[in-house]
C-alpha cells in the first residue's frame, strides 16, 4: 500500500434520509452501475427490564477504526467487482428510529453489490472499535453488546 487515502466514515449524530438521497443521486452519472445495495442500521426502542431505549450514544477509537475500515474496504474491493462503496457511521447521540449506519455498495450486476454490502456490515460490527451506550428514557444507561 504505497498510497493510501484513509476515508472518514464518521458523521455527527444521525444519518439523515436526505443525506442518503444525495448519495444515491450522485450515482446518476455513473452509468456503468446496474445495481445498488444499501444497508441501514436504525436505533431500536428496545425494552430492557421495563425501560425503553431512547437513544444510543456512539463513541469510537476513531483513528484505529478508520484504519481498520480502510483495510476492510481494500479486502472487499479485492473480493468483489464493485463500482464503488460508501460507508457512514454515526458518532454521538442517535435517537430511536434514526439511522446510525449507512453502507452503500454498487456494481455492474447486482450480486457483488449485495454480497459486499452484507459482508461489510458483518465485518464492521465485529472489527471496528466503536461503542454504543444505550440511553434509557429515565437517563440511566447500559452498554450495548453486539451478539
Amino acid at each position: 500500500m504505497s498510497e493510501k487515502k484513509i476515508k472518514n466514515i464518521f458523521v455527527n449524530g444521525p444519518i439523515a434520509p436526505a443525506f442518503i438521497a444525495d448519495s444515491i443521486a450522485k450515482h446518476n452519472s455513473k452509468t456503468a452501475i446496474g445495481g445498488h445495495s444499501i444497508f441501514m442500521g436504525q436505533v431500536r426502542k428496545d425494552e430492557i427490564d421495563g425501560k425503553f431505549v431512547a437513544a444510543i450514544t456512539y463513541t469510537a477509537y476513531e483513528e484505529v477504526a478508520l484504519e481498520k475500515m480502510h483495510q476492510i474496504r481494500e479486502e472487499i474491493f479485492e473480493k468483489y467487482p464493485l463500482s464503488c462503496m460508501h460507508i457512514y457511521h454515526s458518532l454521538g447521540t442517535v435517537k430511536a428510529g434514526e439511522i446510525c449506519l449507512f453502507v452503500f455498495a454498487s456494481s455492474v450486476h447486482r450480486k457483488p453489490a449485495i454480497l459486499a454490502c452484507s459482508d461489510v456490515v458483518d465485518r464492521l460490527k465485529v472489527e471496528l472499535p466503536i461503542w454504543g451506550k444505550e440511553i434509557f428514557e429515565d437517563e440511566t444507561h447500559q452498554w450495548k453488546e453486539n451478539i
Partner: protein, 77 residues
C-alpha cells in the same frame, strides 16, 4: 518506563485516561496482568488492547512512551 493508558466504552467508567510509570512491563501480556490486578472489573470483560493504535492480536513488546488503549467488546453498527 512510561505508558499512556486510554480507555473506551464502559471501561471509561472505571479506568480514566492516565500516564503510568511502571517497571518490568515489557509486553502486552504482562500489561494485561498488571491492569487486571489494578482494576479487577476488567476480568469480567472480553477486552482488547491496542498498542500505539494497532489492535493487539498476540503478545507484543512494549517500549517506553507506548500508548495502550483498553477496549471493551465492540458494539458499532
Amino acid at each position: 518506563m512510561e505508558i499512556e493508558i486510554i480507555s473506551f466504552g464502559q471501561i471509561t467508567e472505571f479506568i480514566n485516561n492516565q500516564k503510568i510509570e511502571v517497571d518490568g512491563i515489557t509486553d502486552t501480556d504482562a500489561f494485561s496482568k498488571y491492569i487486571e490486578n489494578r482494576f479487577p472489573a476488567l476480568k469480567n470483560l472480553k477486552y482488547k488492547l491496542a498498542l500505539n493504535k494497532n489492535i493487539v492480536q498476540h503478545n507484543t513488546e512494549i517500549t517506553n512512551q507506548a500508548t495502550i488503549a483498553i477496549m471493551p467488546p465492540f458494539s458499532g453498527g
